[in-house]
């Protein structure tokens, strides 16, 4: 009986709790990915390097840069949507009370 209860109920409560947990995790990971601009910046630097080394020409650079800028804008939009601070845009010296501060 005891064993049966376990076999019958644990596999149910176990995975269900597990799924909920991993769904939260997925959402969190997705949010982090959507709002992280480091990969785009990294790619931008690599692109710049390729241009400097003559691996790509101006036309290709401009085309790929445009795609990266669009991604950067998407990241910015997501940050805004999710209430995270994003660099760029108008700033002012933070007032004493404000604890929201962006770097530099």
């Amino acid at each position: 009986m005891g064993l049966l209860t376990k076999v019958l109920f644990f596999p149910i409560t176990g995975p269900v709790a597990g799924i909920r947990w991993s769904l939260n995790k997925v959402v969190q990971v997705a949010e982090e990915e959507l709002t992280d601009d480091t990969p785009v910046k990294q790619e931008l630097m690599e692109l710049q390097m390729k241009l400097e080394l003559g691996d790509i020409d101006d036309a290709e650079y401009i085309e790929r840069e445009r795609a990266l800028m669009l991604r950067l804008r998407e990241v910015r939009a997501w940050r805004e949507k999710l209430g995270k601070a994003s660099p760029g845009g108008p700033v002012r010296v933070a007032r004493e009370s404000a604890d929201v501060a962006t770097e530099e």
Partner: protein, 267 residues
């Protein structure tokens, strides 16, 4: 093609008021300066906003977020380069926009001490960037000549066919990887050792892409500029066949100034 950007930017700004200030850098200056029509966004006039003996180098801008396109970044850089010819500068990060001249003055007023201290520290100092890339193929070929074990494995692989050489191949791959790693570390420390005596400070950044082994910035005293220059050329000659040196500057001391400004969004 860049017109697309402009179009989007302009539509963004149509809704907002003018009067914004794009800030390039902070300098010490007790008089009004005009650096010409070289500003970001198509040749805006670049001038100074002063507070006591400090000044922010700015140009008028609509309130927009500037994309870090090559065009925009070069404009930002060009202004800093121009100002640097006559001044020690504290560079601002790309894209810093204030709503008004008053907000810029407020920045100078509230950060006066930190700016003054850093300006004193950076007096007559400039930054140089050094990126070193290697040609993996060439380095490996070089290694085969010098490393007996690698040569032996190579021979073995070429004498036999297909499956029987599986482990030899794996061993060879591992051997080459660790030899490359060791090689790269040796080059990096050798280059740093050569340049450190003529620099005030140095900083290593993460290499970009898979061919780069050095991505460093050096802070150099203006008086040492020629010496540093010579040393870089000497070192690059030494490794002529194996490494490519990408040397740039002088830059404002981007990598050596770290003032955390307390800024907030001004919407």
């Amino acid at each position: 093609m860049t017109d697309v950007h402009h179009g989007e930017q302009e539509s963004q700004l149509a809704a907002t008021a003018e009067g914004g200030k794009y800030v390039y850098c902070i300098i010490r200056s007790d008089r009004q300066r005009d650096f010409g029509a070289i500003g970001i966004g198509g040749g805006q006039k670049v001038f100074t906003v002063a507070y006591r003996d400090l000044a922010a180098v700015v140009s008028d801008t609509p309130i927009v977020i500037y994309d870090p396109t090559r065009e925009n970044v070069l404009a930002h850089e060009f202004v800093n380069e121009t100002v640097m010819r006559e001044h020690t500068v504290i560079p601002m990060s790309f894209g810093t926009v204030f709503r008004s001249e008053e907000d810029v003055s407020e920045l100078l007023r509230s950060t006066y001490q930190a700016f003054s201290d850093v300006l004193a520290k950076m007096q007559d100092k400039i930054e140089f960037g050094l990126k070193v890339l290697w040609d993996r193929e060439k380095v490996v070929a070089n290694m085969e000549r010098e490393n007996d074990e690698i040569r032996r494995l190579k021979d073995e692989i070429s004498r036999h066919t297909s499956s029987s050489t599986y482990f030899a191949r794996m061993q060879l791959g591992r051997l080459i990887d660790s030899a490359l790693e060791e090689m790269s570390m040796r080059y990096v420390s050798d280059i740093h050792d050569a340049l450190k005596p003529v620099a005030v400070a140095s900083r290593s950044n993460k290499p970009i892409g898979d061919r780069m082994i050095v991505n460093a910035a050096f802070l150099v005293d203006r008086a040492q500029e020629t010496a540093f220059d010579e040393r870089v050329k000497e070192t690059s000659r030494k490794y002529e066949d194996l490494l490519t040196f990408k040397y740039s500057g002088p830059w404002p001391p981007y990598n050596f100034v770290n003032i955390k400004l307390k800024l907030e969004k001004a919407d």
